[in-house]
Amino acid sequence: MDSFSQNPELTTSIMAVEFEGGVVIGADSRTTTGAYIANRVTDKLTPIHERIFCCRSGSAADTQAIADAVTYQLGFHSIELDEAPLVQTAASLFREMCYRYREELMAGIIVAGWDPRRGGQVYTVPVGGMMTRQPVSVGGSGSSYIYGYVDSNYRAGMSKEECLKFTAEALTLAMERDGSSGGVVRLAVVSEQGVERQVILGNQLPKFSTV
């Protein structure tokens, strides 16, 4: 039984929330090849540009390749325009690739960041290659378990701290229930001031009562 005959997957829980002045993004840290956890401290929050990130779920290889390609294209575009790129542009580039090669790829990506024209924005590009902007978006296999939590607890106009707490709690709940998600919670805040990253270790995760 050769577990490497299966592709490394980011079967995952990822999330992004818009707030006034930026976005909060979060992800778990588990990469699996079959039942084996190939990486238990994965960083699924990938920078595409100074103030634009993507949260990756699906095939690890596919999402890395796509992210690298988009990073190159966006960097070139930004230099040509002599301006910070729009988050929407990054999301469009992801969408173009994910839609064009939809038969070959398995990638669910959330693009989130801050640009000077439209502030904090979250765009989701799920498997299949559609693209839509959402104030809050969840993705990955673990997301199924937290739609109810997110829908009932999200409020428009939350502060940065409230968004961080909301994201950490949602991801913790997803990681509790989804076997393919786990490890630590990685969070990042992207705003005009830049990027602040943090890690919440396993024993520091928020506690929910379980019978």
């Binding site: 325009l81 729009l86 929407q88 999301a91 580039l93 173009e96």
Partner: protein
């Protein structure tokens, strides 16, 4: 006045001893055969002066650039970038002896929410600049003088349309120039308009 670049003016790939490219300068003179053409694409408008065929070909190029940008990046091309692209294209034709430079100047105008109103001009040498007001063609000096008298930033689009039409009438030389047709076009918040000369007389007389 104009000097003849005997021997150094046969191709765009030759410099004269005083560092000029005569073919490009001759192309700029072609602009003074003013035939203006207004084309519209999306919320960008062009006005051109010079050889009509060159102008048409260039406007097709700029449409393609705008369209490709939109399909690659998912949003409308910023006017500065479009002007740069058109300018680079025009400049390329000033480098080789196998082709001649474009004999037309190009004014691009647009309005969008983020940048507001923008105006750029590309000339046959491949330079592009942003402007608050500009004029091209035979009477450009006189027109520029008139434009400088305007306080553009404090005027609305509606007022400026009238001023622009007035300036065209002012600089038109009754003796030397043929009868002319005035075509007006303007881009503003939410819309663009083209006005052809049959409607202009009525429009202008009611406004004055």
């Amino acid at each position: 006045m104009s000097s003849i670049g005997t021997g150094y003016d046969l191709s765009a790939s030759t410099f004269s001893p005083d560092g000029r490219v005569f073919q490009v300068e001759y192309a700029m003179k072609a602009v003074e055969n003013s035939r203006s053409l207004f084309c519209v694409f999306g919320v960008t408008e062009y006005a051109v002066a010079g050889l009509l065929a060159d102008a048409r070909s260039l406007s097709e190029v700029s449409r393609e650039e705008a369209s490709n940008f939109r399909s690659n990046y998912g949003h409308d091309i910023p006017l500065k970038h479009l002007a740069d692209r058109v300018a680079m294209y025009v400049h390329a034709y000033t480098l080789y002896s196998a082709v001649r430079p474009f004999g037309c100047s190009f004014i691009l105008g647009s309005y969008d929410e983020d940048d507001g109103p923008q105006l750029y001009m590309v000339d046959p040498s491949g330079i592009s600049h942003g402007y608050w007001g500009c004029a091209i063609g035979k009477a450009k000096q006189a027109a520029k003088t008139e434009i400088e008298k305007l306080q553009m930033k404090e005027m609305t689009c509606r007022e400026l349309v009238k001023e622009v039409a007035k300036i065209i009438y002012i600089v038109h030389d009754e003796v030397k120039d043929k009868a002319f047709e005035l075509e007006l076009s303007w881009v503003g918040e939410g819309n663009y308009w083209i006005l052809y000369s049959t409607s202009i007389t009525t429009f202008l007389w009611t406004s004055f």
